[in-house]
């Protein structure tokens, strides 16, 4: 594993001439769990898209797991879980097993074929995630919580070094949300995966994440939750009550 999991320098990015991110710089150490927060339109999802190579930056440098983003090819080292599927069709004829196995395509070379090793990895991940019993079920027949669990299994099937999650709990009920956070926390602790999690849930993320990245097109705050708790600048920004609601240190 390289010394820096993610390094972003003077990043500018946006859509159709509108800048969603301006002069964003930060770096993430392997094993960190970063909670990415900010108001609507603050550039959180844009940042994720740039990290994953889905959106080219306007300016600036992005380095993922020690490789410049544009040259990055080892997609099996990154796991990605979106808020939900882009245009999810509840009648899509895919089983849980087939969906989790799709994750193993990352990093494969042409022609992409599954091996015995892939089957073992899929079985192991489904067992770890507690979804082995539904492996033959159709993805569209599952509840929102279970479906997100399956997509998380798809993201984890390669034991990624960097796990990127874009508001994964938005559509979940509070109980499922809590167990989801715990699962990601375990993933971070047990497998030492670096986690970049975008969330609106500023009141909960401090319980699990080690660092906070607060964006509002620019970096408003980046550092540990302890630093956030003690920052007078952040007291001015959030107010004392809001600051300590986020930091979860009291």
């Amino acid at each position: 594993m390289s010394g820096i999991a993610l390094e972003i320098k003077n990043l500018y990015a946006g859509y159709h001439g509108t800048e969603a991110l301006k002069d964003v710089s930060f770096s993430v150490t392997p094993g960190d769990y970063i909670g990415v927060c900010g108001p609507n339109g603050s550039g959180k999802s844009t940042l994720i898209k740039v990290v994953l190579g889905l959106l080219p930056p306007t300016r600036g440098e992005v380095s993922v797991l020690g490789t410049p983003q544009a040259d990055f090819k080892n997609w099996q080292r990154i796991g990605y879980l979106p808020q939900g599927l882009q245009f999810f069709n509840p009648h899509f004829p895919a089983t849980v097993n087939e969906v989790v196995r799709l994750g193993r395509l990352a990093g494969k070379r042409f022609p992409k074929r599954f091996s015995r090793e892939d089957t073992v990895a899929v079985e192991r991940t489904m067992e770890w995630m507690g979804i082995s019993h539904i492996k033959g079920c159709m993805i569209g027949e599952l509840s929102g919580g279970l479906r997100q669990r399956v997509l998380l299994a798809r993201a984890l099937v390669n034991d990624p070094e960097l796990l990127v999650l874009d508001e994964p709990t938005t559509a979940l009920d509070p109980e499922t949300r809590e167990s989801f956070y715990k699962l990601i926390f375990e993933m971070n602790r047990e497998k030492k995966a670096t986690v970049l999690l975008v969330t609106h849930d500023t009141a909960t993320i401090g319980k699990y994440a080690s660092h906070l990245l607060y964006l509002d097109k620019r970096v408003v705050f980046y550092g540990s939750f302890d630093d956030f708790c003690n920052s007078t600048e952040m007291t001015g920004f959030f107010g004392e009550h809001g600051q300590h609601l986020v930091c979860h240190r009291h």
Partner: protein, 274 residues
């Protein structure tokens, strides 16, 4: 007339073999197209094929040479639909509409300039698989091999892109390339399917076996295999029935496909209730 007598005719053997190969291609690609909400691309490309047929007739090319001549034109227009959708900032359905209208307009214009063609244009509009020649069957077999190999090679990438394009991209899959592969394979299939059901009914052969299979499928691979089986069965039954009853083959195939879809839909409703 019994089955052995029907099968003793050379044209029936060619029709059944050619029809089955084309049905497999249409059904397999149809599953990807229907799930990606690109069902009408078949219709658009069929209209382009109409323009291409007119162009080939204009230059007095027939049967074997006509098929060879229209392939590059339809492939080019298929890429045109993709590029229009990507570069001109318009949605895919509008791009299909533009290219489709252009195909028909070109066909009508060329027919007018040539003062009408001597061949029966109806055979291209509504198909006539019973008239498939040995050389056309060879083209069908070669294109079948190309398309089915293409699907087999890119199967996992096609599945991933169909499931969710953004997730596929985040796995390092070049979805633009995969979209191009899907559209080009569809274009080749549309040129072949023109012979079976005709330009007007091609989209039915792409859509119906796929949506029938999707009613009952319990997995992606089973959906693909069932669609291919449904496509072959309906085309074989359609050709035989139309021959025995002296009905138009293309229309018979489409109606049998629709009836099969209704049966699958009803079976699904019954299964859900129980």
């Amino acid at each position: 007339m019994d089955i052995s007598e029907m099968l003793s005719y050379g044209f029936m053997q060619r029709a059944l073999i050619g029809g089955s190969l084309i049905a497999i291609l249409c059904s397999v690609l149809g599953v990807f197209l229907v799930l990606r909400r690109l069902s009408l691309i078949g219709d658009g490309l069929a209209h382009v094929t109409f323009g291409s047929v007119a162009l080939a007739l204009f230059f007095r090319l027939h049967s074997f040479y006509m098929t060879l001549a229209i392939i590059p034109v339809v492939l080019g227009c298929a890429m045109g639909i993709l590029k229009l959708a990507q570069k001109a900032r318009i949605y895919g359905d509008a791009a299909i509409g533009i290219v489709s209208a252009l195909g028909i307009a070109t066909g009508v214009m060329l027919a007018s300039i040539a003062g009408g063609f001597n061949v029966d244009l109806f055979s291209y509009l509504f198909g006539n698989i019973l008239s498939i020649s040995s050389s056309e069957l060879v083209i069908a077999a070669v294109l079948f091999a190309i398309v089915i190999t293409g699907v087999a090679i890119f199967y996992n990438d096609l599945f991933a892109s169909t499931f969710d394009e953004e997730l596929a991209k985040s796995s390092g899959i070049d979805t633009d390339r995969i979209n191009a592969v899907l559209v080009l394979l569809t274009a080749l299939t549309v040129v072949l399917a023109m012979k079976v059901v005709g330009i007007m009914l091609i989209s039915a052969l792409l859509i119906l076996p796929a949506v029938t299979a999707l009613q009952l499928a319990k997995g992606f691979k089973t959906a693909i295999v069932s669609a291919a089986c449904i496509g072959v069965c309906t085309v074989v039954v359609g050709i035989s029935f139309s021959f025995a009853m002296n009905l138009p083959t293309g229309a018979t195939i489409v109606i049998i496909n629709f009836l099969t879809f209704i049966c699958a839909f009803a079976a699904r409703a019954v299964l859900r209730r129980s």
